[in-house]
Symmetry: C2
Subunit: 191 residues, 2 copies
Amino acid sequence: MKLLLQHISRHIQLDPTEEAYFLSLIQLKTIRKKEFLLKQGEICKTENFLLSGCMRTFKLNEQGEEQVVQFGIEDWWVGDLYSFLTQTPASYSIDALEDTVVAQITKENLDKLYEQVPKFDRFFRLILQNAFIAQQDRIHQNLSLTAEERYEEFVRRYPQLEQRVAQKHIASYLGITPVFLSMLRRKRVNG
Amino acid sequence: MKLLLQHISRHIQLDPTEEAYFLSLIQLKTIRKKEFLLKQGEICKTENFLLSGCMRTFKLNEQGEEQVVQFGIEDWWVGDLYSFLTQTPASYSIDALEDTVVAQITKENLDKLYEQVPKFDRFFRLILQNAFIAQQDRIHQNLSLTAEERYEEFVRRYPQLEQRVAQKHIASYLGITPVFLSMLRRKRVNG
DNA sequence: GTTATTTATTAAAGTACTTTAATTTTTTCC
DNA sequence: GGAAAAAATTAAAGTACTTTAATAAATAAC
């Protein structure tokens, strides 16, 4: 839980009362490997901050294939933001790739938090700014780089993930088939 | 300028003093068709709200081709957020596809605004939430749809843009060549 | 620890999309 | 309003990536 408070203190300063109030709105939850935090069609009841472990956010496309849109590790937020905000059925599923612990806040509690401690408007504005910038770069890369270049970028940017996550998930995240990713890796190793 | 105040009032309520203060921090600027609002390498000094016209945000890739990452029309914000926040050289260029009028706020003034009227933290949080959701959907679509399907989606979602913007820019936004887009369009018309 | 199951590799044939280049259409500009 | 420039169309050859299928390697399960 210290991890979450550290994460917040990087963006805003809380006094002890505010910190206590914030913590009173948070719940911990453990998700075992292969279990789901959220299933497509359910309502996303919480925003989730990863304290440990690794998760993936994905969507079934029309052919029933799983398309990974995001990974989450320690220090990252995961959730289906649209479903959370509108309390409508989720388009994304989220499951655990390792045993995972998350800190959760419900929409009701988050709304209270915004009213009681408006600094959190700023906090989430800052978080979203960073996420927006990262996503825009990713869109640019997806459109202008080859699969090979995207893979290089992925390895460079997330060396930990390359190790922790199955190749088929990385392939999906990059928008290519596992077969083709395997070819790229061989090419990389052999020269 | 009414457009901007309406846009804000959809998300937060300002009292007359706050509104006047906000307006005192805003400047209008006209950009003629083909002129630049921002050039890659310059520092992005303002966030920009489009009152009329149409702009494109793009980046030169390593082969020197222009990759369009976003269009902007009335009611949208444009800028290079990373360059704006860090006041470092921009990775993106922004130019006008039509004569355009924008309402601008500098980083200095926006920082003042956040301190004087903290509601704006909420305002931009809400704007960023929407942008984040839209981008996530776009990432998913870019990875899981064919070029033809992405084009269909684009036409469905932004019918106005399809009319207003040159095909080569739409092709770039979709991540395909103008030649291939032309083929898709013929196919669409002929059956 | 062995078996069953899932994941990664390899090869070969197929397809969506690109590249190049020539022609036509549309837009720009004095 | 006519010439020049830019954008869109068409066709043909080329390439990055997919699909299928068979085998090997790694992980899970009892």
